[in-house]
Amino acid sequence: MYLKELTELSGVSGYEKRVREFIKDKIKDRVSHIEEDVLGNLIARKEGKTDKRIMLCAHMDEVGFIVSNIEDDGKLCIMPLGGIDPKVVVGKRVTVGEKEIPGVIGYKAIHLQRGDVYTPPKMDEIRVDIGVTKKSDAEGKVRIGDFVAFSVESMVHGDWFSGKALDNRGGCSILIDIINNNIELYYDTYFVFSVQEELGLRGAGISAEKINPDFSIVVETTTSGDNPEFSSYRRSTELGKGPAITFAHSGYVIDERLFKWIIDTAKEHNIPYQIKRRTAGGTDARRIATTLAGIPSAVISIPARYIHSPMSVLNLEDYNNTLRLISILLTKEVQL
């Protein structure tokens, strides 16, 4: 499991290099073929018992920002890359650009706020402070177009884990574990670590086109909402109750045969699972499913809390059960 290392890397959508290099280093000696495509997707292959192909896909990117302007006082204006709630950005440490320049996102002190304490900040008034007071000093360190990533130390708390970018380094870690565990694969298995998922599922389709798999499973880290501020009927998953199996999400109803196969396998092996109860949000499955002449796809996710924020949480039992379920599926054949 590489959750801690993976979640501490900066890999904002479009700037996944660090994550890709890390993963490549961990798996390159364990696969029969590895390559990067022009967009930066990382594709690794392990042979199975048949020539039929499965594509497993986990996106490497995380939500973050891009430097959009440098102000006269040296502060950086930023634009979000991916869906970020402006309510979560105040008082956070960030990393800027290839040189990993440290910065903080501050905000007008509470003492100086009048009626606006309960008004969410607007993204265009958020500034990154890199400890300079002049535009020219800032320009010596960063450039317009640099990425801005949250900078958070991850922690393991017994069965729980907290850190940023669990969506979707959780999925990446599971794919690495599967590769390194030397499972007896049934299918010719392609592991795709995709880019730019958070910008509208932009990376995975390119890989699916190239691989032309018989079917695909997307491994994700998903929402939960299982907290006291959120009515239980609105929650999508609950932590500690096993991998979440998606029946449908934004833009794609999961292939029924795959959906049933996954659930039957979980039942057969007494692996706890839950059906994801909300359909909001999409995954690479939507893009993959509509690639070429159509690729049957499914989604299995580790349930998590507070994703798309700098401090998300998952349960390691869920992680292990997700890994177990997918590992078993990969040894089996599905009738399509």
Binding site: K87, P120, P228
Partner: protein, 335 residues
Amino acid sequence: MLTDLLERLSSIDGPSGYERDVIECMRKEAGMIPGVFTEVDILGNFIVRKEGKGKKIALFAHADEIGFVLTRREEGNYWRFSTIGGIDPKAIISQRLKIYTRDGDIAWGIVGMIEPHLQTDEGREKVPSLDDLFLDVVEGGERVNTGDIGVFSSKPFSLSEKYFTGKALDNRASCATLLYTLELLNNFTSKSDLFFVFNIREEDGSPGAKTSAYRLKPDLSIVLDVTHGDISIPSMPKIETGKGPALGVGPVIDYGYLEKLKNLADKISVSYQLEPINGRSGTDTDLIQITRGGIPTLLLSLPLRYMHTPYEVVNIRDIEETARLLSYFLARGGE
């Protein structure tokens, strides 16, 4: 190194009423300075005395910081909490809080939020109030109790060559300034009898400073605190970081001593800024002035960005220059 000192002081946790670790840290720092006597009074204020012939001058820097207190257990390991000192809910969301349990263990909690995918239109438009925030105690959930204390867990670091960031720089930056001043005073024969007070509970309404001032009854009190830097406030001069301490001017400040301090600053080329105070300053100064027959007071504030957030920002040179000004002023007996 000043940044090392700032790092040590910012890393220590001590919300109002729970300053013990901070005081212990100060005691260690002050222990390295020759020729001083130290004492912790009955309330927990830490006092460093540097004897000299002349006026009795007391310097104050509050040692406490803002914090949190667990109030009510919800389903599972979720807790409601309240704040010690004023904290913006926006600065609390998605933070990892360190919790000190009654048994002296550490527990960890995450201040949660609703994922954007699940938010309602109504929820999207509004920042939750403190009452609606919740803490997900991911470690030590079975060990925490109502009344346990929490703090931001942000680690301090050098933001650049000139700026330093971390939690509790309000007011550990001033504590560092006083310790540095003590160090600089070794180069002088002081013409004043000096008491450096690292007082408790400023964020809790100043009882620490008031009681120390009562006991010491100094001829002059100098309070060190922080003020909002690099932000425009309507009808106020903009106080900027990197331009020296902000000297308070107004009814809570002794005009005669302020003139002397300004003259000295001009003479030794320390830049300073003037910060008008409309009545009360919101610092320990306000109470000290009206303690035990009245005490002349001065207020020096370090400009600081993003007050009461996990990453407050100060300028290193402001600290150095403030300490330089103070050391001259004290060595000359408040002249």
